[in-house]
């Protein structure tokens, strides 16, 4: 031990340090700089605008506005949580947020700037070219609160190599064919891999909704009609139940997640799945997939019992750009939205893997060449709609529905009873 240690703290010194520290803290964090637009988004929204090693699609906007775009990125649900919390504050540093179209209830929409007047004063290029259904999804109580920027529309993916191995020459065109092919494809492949005909996640409403729609039914319509055709919903669940019984759905159906669908199809463990068309590149990525170039996509087929000419409405989910009411420079935010919504940037983002919201983008030769599923995606998008409309109790309604669907599919509850329970339990959650 040393002889002498001094450690003097005087009251004045302590007070000075404390005050100095507090002042430094108060002065320290400066978030938004002049001409910096803070954007709250998913990483993919940033990546399609500024791809690694690719053209920065925001370069022109940056130069014209003398501004920088600073992205803060989160995964989908955390992103929504953060966006709504920021918009609830007295003020926020974020000028633009990305919102998914199943979220804007009247209450949430009231946190965001109505964009009609911006569109009137300084319109987006050829606004009518943006899919009207997507625009409708972001119109709440008559106010346009978001400009669509990306969609993810569900398609039927199949492993062409496995189909060939099972002697199937073409993908199904009716739901009945799909069920039959999935049955045939529940086998052990020549590679020694046990194959399940189809894999679907059990925790997403998309799949039972698609099966109900295949028979002309639905879960909740855009006019908030709950299970408009119980018979169609029963048929859809009966089909899923039959597939599970036949082993065409995995035994682990009740615990199957979205990521399992991707890995199973990449590994040749399943022959069919339902995923957004945008997943095509990932499913065929040679670094991850055992079947690069062999995973193809087509429209999810409706039942042959559907009246002729009735389109199968696949499920689509769209993202839109919104401006929090408590944001600072809203004109800068609008200039960004205008730029990102332009034809040039929309097509550029589509070439980088974004689901384009403009109909004209699908006619772009470069996109057709680069994206083999662009054509079928455009066709499906024409009649696609959301899984269900936004309302305050939507999450609980979805969870309730899925609970009953799971019981029906794994045979713990008769299908008829499950559908009746969906109607009975979800009804009180519906908006009045």
């Amino acid at each position: 031990m040393k002889d002498k240690v001094t450690f003097d703290i005087t009251r004045r010194g302590f007070l000075g340090t404390a005050l100095g520290g507090a002042a430094a803290l108060a002065a320290g964090p400066s978030f938004a700089q002049a001409n910096t637009l803070n954007i709250l988004s998913h990483r993919v929204h940033q990546a399609v605008l500024m791809p690694d090693g690719g053209e920065n699609l925001l370069a022109e906007w940056k130069s014209a506005q003398d501004a920088e775009a600073a992205f803060t990125t989160f995964d989908s649900n955390p992103l929504m949580d953060r966006l709504f919390r920021e918009a609830s504050l007295g003020s926020t540093d974020y000028g633009v947020g990305y919102m998914v179209d199943n979220r804007p209830t009247s209450e949430i929409a009231s946190l965001f700037e109505p964009l009609d007047s911006y569109q009137k004063d300084d319109p987006i290029e050829d606004f009518g070219d943006i899919a009207p259904g997507l625009v409708q999804g972001m119109t709440v109580d008559g106010n346009l609160i978001g400009i669509p920027v990306r969609h993810a529309t569900q398609g039927l993916f199949y492993n062409e190599a496995l189909l060939e191995e099972a002697g199937i020459s073409a993908p199904p065109t009716t739901l009945e064919e799909l069920v039959e092919q999935a049955g045939k494809l529940t086998f052990t492949s020549s590679a020694g891999t046990p194959v399940t005909g189809m894999i679907l996640a059990s925790d997403l409403a998309v799949f039972p909704v698609m099966f109900a729609r295949a028979y002309g039914g639905d879960f909740i319509t855009k006019d908030f009609e709950l299970v408009p055709s119980p018979e169609a919903m029963e048929k859809g669940l009966d089909t899923l139940r039959g597939m599970f019984e036949a082993g065409s759905l995995p035994r682990s159906y009740a615990t199957t997640k979205n990521d399992d669908m991707v890995t199973w199809i990449q590994q040749g463990r399943a022959a069919f799945t339902v995923l957004p068309f945008a997943r095509n590149a990932q499913l065929n990525n040679p670094e991850q997939s055992k079947y690069p170039g062999k995973i193809k996509a087509t429209a999810f087929p409706g039942s042959s019992s559907l009246p002729s000419g009735t389109p199968m409405a696949a499920v689509t989910e769209a993202w839109a750009m919104v401006v929090p009411k408590n944001a600072g420079d809203k004109q800068l935010a609008w200039s960004y939205i205008k730029e990102v919504s332009s034809k040039r940037v929309t097509t550029g983002m589509a070439l980088n893997g974004n689901g384009p919201v403009r109909v004209s983008s699908y006619a772009d030769p470069a996109l057709i060449e680069k994206n083999p599923v662009a054509e079928v995606e455009a066709e499906v998008l024409a009649t696609a709609r959301g899984a269900f409309p936004p309302f305050p109790e939507a999450a609980r309604a979805q969870a309730t529905m899925l609970e009953e669907v799971q019981l029906a599919v794994i045979g713990r509850k008769p299908v008829k009873e499950a559908v009746a329970a969906i109607i009975e339990r979800v009804k009180p959650l519906m908006p009045s």
Partner: protein
Amino acid sequence: MRSGRILVVAGKAVAVAALLTWSLVPIAFVVMSSVKPGQEIFAVPTVYAFEPTLEHYAELWRRWGQFFDGLIDSAIITAGATALAIIASTCAGYVYSRNSSRFLNASVMFLIVVRLIPPIVVTLPLFPLVNIMGLNDTHIVLMVLYATFFVSLGTVLMRTFIDQIPRELDEAAQIDGAGRLTILRRVIVPLAAPGILAVAVFVVVFAWNEFLFAFVFTATKAKTAPLVISEMIGSIDGVDWGILFAASTTQLAPILIFVVLMNRYLVAGLTAGATKG
């Protein structure tokens, strides 16, 4: 008699093996998958013999530069939170150890109660407050929060350690003219070093891995590595498992090394006061 002993030993071996399998298999899977070719990570039948590759680490470096920024942020925040928690816990532990009053005894109970509050309960009300103070997206806010959550446990631990240091040493130092702070620095801290290290282990492990506070209170400037990893489990563009496992291994390595090195202090911390009569 002998066969009975063999059975006991065998039973213990099986129990230890089961425990190790339970704990180590997930870690081994993550580490192995980080050097496995992407196609083979989830292959069925499972591929055990493969040519290791560092490709996922290279991709992690190339595509997820923000992960490494996140590691730096995590390190800064962890270091700050640990220092704060140690200072506060040691001072408080010293006071609790050397003083006694009805108020102090009651406040020990309060410290324990504070630990029972689920973090989410305080997180959301704190958000607007932190925002008003201009501390959002700073390292400081996380340092303070992490330290706050561990000061209670740290204080109780430090009190137990300091209780074991004879009061006569304080008195001897006092006679030599030392003040309270000098006694704390020159006498208590060196002798209670194992306790300080035990507290440090708890805080470091918590702060390095914490997600909820970091998610709520940071955006870009103080974004920690667990937040970046959570983004890799993207629900929109899919998961690149090889990169995710490489990031998880990178995140895990320093803390694993730290905990292994500090293992004996951790045990000392957990058993502190256990033999006190």
